[in-house]
Amino acid sequence: MRLALALASLLILVIHLAVFYDQFFHPWEKHQTAYFDQALNMAKTDGERAALKDRKPRIEQTIVTQFGETRVDRCQTCHIAADDPRFKDHAQPIKAHPYAEALGDKLVNGKWERRHKFSDFGCTVCHDGQGRGLQAEYGHGKDHYWPDPLLGYATQEPWRNEFKPKLLGKDYLQANCAQCHTEEKFAGTPKVAQGRKLFFEKNCYGCHRIEGIANGTLAPDLSEVGKKFKLDYLWESLVDPRANIATSFMPKFNLTDEETQALVIFLKSRKGVNFAETSLDRYRAQLATKTLHPEVSPTLTADATATPVSIGETLVKEKSCAACHKIGVLDGGIAPDLSFEGLLKDETWMMGHFRNPRALVPDSIMPTFSFSEAEYKDMTEYLKSLRTPPPIATSEEAFKNLCQRCHGEKGDGNGITALYLDPSPRDFTKSGFMNSKTEERLLKSIKEGVPGTSMPAWGQVLNDDQSRSLLEYLWKTYVREPRKPLKPRNVPETNPVAMNPDSVRRGEQIFAMRCTGCHGKKADGKGPNSLDILPRPRNLRNSEFVNAMNDRRLFESILYGVQGTAMPPWVDYGMTNNEVGDLVNFIRSVNQKQK
């Protein structure tokens, strides 16, 4: 018992001594003592020596108030020789900060003068890191929870080790130079300029928004992305967009490492308000982006032999259309195949779609790229010239080349682009649906397409016989059920209820009672139950679609339901033709307003 007490008390003593040692004997004291010793040997005058002998290790700090929040930079506690040119060839941490013309330093009478004095600028304004930290690990921001690790010199334990070597190097510091030197062509920030150029070249601006630069609305706002994310996250998001957000539809752009680095540096420099900006500058920049037109690449306009088709072709290639679309051998795997677009769409459609894709396919994810009207025209000319159909000798081949991209290899509506299409491609394996529609109607969908969706009219590519045999092929391969005779249905050809405000109001009431659970209050197909339903409920504000449907078809879907989907036959719930008529009037009125 006494032995245990003695041991325990000695152990406590040892722990106390260890804590004491840890708290009161610091590595930085050793660095400072070493610096004083070496400086003493270099000293030339007695005064210098006396002054050095008086100095004792202590925390050196610079308090900087001019750059955003007050910064307390204690870096020079360890890096005590940062401003001592005699130590320029020593090892870190007792090493002088390099002098360079590129940093704005000047050589006067054989002595360098700093442009950015540490007493005015501190350290973290340029380098990031945790200014208050007195241990290398914390000071350099290696602690996982510190938002800005030492830029280009320290990486926190990254979850993707393969990026680690790519995230080191002086170049990354340009992101912080650009906080004050915001000029686009500033000589000290070539990587930021390159990244900005790529941001337009790769069409990032089509989806993303950066205040004062781009107005995209589809993808996350990148105005403050440099403040929110570290280098490794930015790099990862560029090369592997789905690494962090599984549902992201950002394409892989197949960037080279150099391009990725430039983009990462550019993004890292986006930190919201810059130190150099005034509120007036920001307001001007905002006004400027409303009429944003990236310049046409000068090589295009300079070439005298260029035809609209050739300019369009270069534009389509340069503007990264193939990051999403398929054009010949290039395939982004996200959006429809444009390889024979000239057969499927006409000029009016293409121009309208360029100007505003969602006017023609309301739930499309394609951004409105603010190219000039002339560029739209050239690209349209190019797409119109693509009129070589793919091989469609057999139905199998036709399915593979025309349908499979969206409807999937198994015909279950799960093609590679299906995730990005709304409404989603039809699942042919649901025999209930296929058997409930007339052959005529299915053929019409193939030949004329479905307005308001991504289903094109294949009539230009397939003749009647080919369409018919393609449908037979679908039946044989995917439906795998003999065609059943249709049950006779009692559906009026036209809406028996006249369109008037009373009928619309009644229809709205019925809609609120019966339909909003799935189709949503706004009739946009996003009701509370819609998340659990596949295929998703129809967006009834898709005017292109609704206006193309005749009354008979709407009546049939409401009264007898849509087999293979969650839409029930409302006739079973006692809905009358008049009630359905009110509903149809309501749906039509919603789409008239939108037009």
Partner: protein, 165 residues
């Protein structure tokens, strides 16, 4: 129990006091451990009371190159509260904090003058009038390796100490 142990010890060993010694050693060891750690923790707590760094203007700061101060000038630096005195080839730093109640002193034709209660000092900071009880302190000026002068307000020097250039 202790008597039994003693008898066994006396029977088998030449040192009848061994148990006693061991006990004393253990007692000595445990008290040393406990009092030692108490002492260390009291000491470290006392040291802890004084902050190692404060969020004020640092006491050691650079004031620029000697060439920035032409000979014969006396320039008072506001935020640093120090007056840089340049004479021919020597430099000194005199505090501009009044020794009376701590107001910021300005330079005047006769040396320094405090705006608050009218204390007056001559060019060397010696009190010539007003309520100030002590002369203005002089601080050490050194020439840093990068060519700038550094003033250390932690190091007071006797009046009339100049840095020779």
């Amino acid at each position: 129990m202790s008597t039994g142990k003693k008898t066994i010890a006396s029977q088998t060993s030449d040192l009848p006091e061994e148990g006693q010694n061991r006990r004393q050693l253990l007692l000595w060891l445990s008290s040393m451990g406990l009092f030692g750690s108490a002492f260390v923790s009291i000491f470290s707590n006392l040291v802890f009371i004084k902050p190692r760094a404060t969020y004020g203007q640092p006491n050691r700061f650079a004031v620029g190159k000697p060439d920035d101060y032409p000979p014969g000038t006396r320039i008072a630096l506001g935020p640093q509260r120090v007056c840089i005195v340049r004479e021919e080839n020597r430099v000194a730093a005199i505090s501009t904090t009044c020794t009376h109640l701590g107001c910021i002193i300005g330079t005047s034709d006769t040396g320094f003058a405090c705006p608050c209660h009218g204390s007056r000092f001559d060019f060397d900071g010696v009190v010539t009038g007003g309520p100030a009880p002590k002369p203005l302190p002089w601080y050490q000026v050194t020439l840093a390796p990068n060519g700038e002068m550094e003033v250390d307000k932690d190091a007071e020097v006797p009046m009339g100490t100049y840095l020779k250039l």
